[in-house]
């Protein structure tokens, strides 16, 4: 019983993740796609938790669901003339797109299944936040500072881009 429960959780979240990703990719309604993306982000967070990355699971929900998804909903609402909620999205190059993505999928799965991976988890379960904080403040302090500058530049750049031009 104890060995069965992680498998059931894994398959439930796999189904939720790939099913909602299919709605995002194949659906025609933009608002529905945005809400399906919510389910995808939640199941990815569940995957992080299953892999022992508790801090990353929290960050995933905070940043993706709280930030990026809200941004997407604003994007959907501001870039369409809304008559009701039927925001259609069209597709093109279906055949070549399917060919390319299926080829990439086949290559990735072949590589994954033919490589001999180690079968045991090397990290023991436990809180990862102290270790991540220590790494960010010692070994990765330069990327950390660059990331903060990058966030500032993205903030200013986004504000500049959407600003209405005032003709003097």
């Amino acid at each position: 019983m104890e060995t069965l429960a992680p498998k059931i959780i894994f398959w439930v979240f796999t189904g939720l993740m790939l099913g909602s990703a299919l709605v995002v990719v194949l659906g025609t309604n933009l608002v529905r796609a945005a809400f399906a993306l919510l389910a995808t982000f939640f199941s990815v967070a569940a995957f992080y938790a299953m892999l022992g990355a508790d801090f990353l699971a929290g960050v995933q929900i905070l940043v993706y669901v709280g930030g990026i998804l809200t941004l997407f909903l604003f994007g959907v609402m501001l870039t369409n003339r809304i008559y009701g909620l039927e925001l259609e999205t069209a597709t093109f190059q279906l055949g070549s797109g399917a060919l390319v993505s299926l080829t990439v999928f086949a290559v990735l799965v072949t590589v994954v299944l033919t490589t001999p991976w180690s079968q045991t988890a090397l990290v023991e379960e436990g809180p990862t936040t102290p270790a991540i904080g220590r790494l960010l403040m010692t070994e990765y302090v330069l990327p950390f500072e660059i990331a903060s500058v990058l966030l500032l530049v993205a903030l200013l750049g986004a504000a500049m881009l959407v600003r209405r031009r005032i003709d003097l």
Partner: protein
Amino acid sequence: MIPLEYYLVVASALFSLGLFGLLTKKNAVNVLMSIELMFNAANINLIAFSRFVTGDTEGQVFALFVIVIAACESAVALAIVMSLYRILKGVDLPEASALKG
């Protein structure tokens, strides 16, 4: 215990779905959603490798930086989509062909 291959195959499927959406969707916001799917698939791989292969938390730090860059990317990209909407009165990418030779 779920083996590493399962995580990698699921992440590959998510990545390929994102690639398919990136190549086939006309709406720019929907293309950005597909790019986020690909970011998430790469992040699952990073965290799975940090647990099974390297055995430390450095992979999680990398995934954290990926999340930061994804947030910057979507903010700037949506700002560009807004400007595109103001010029074209729509966000269908095949219409934005002013630079086509």
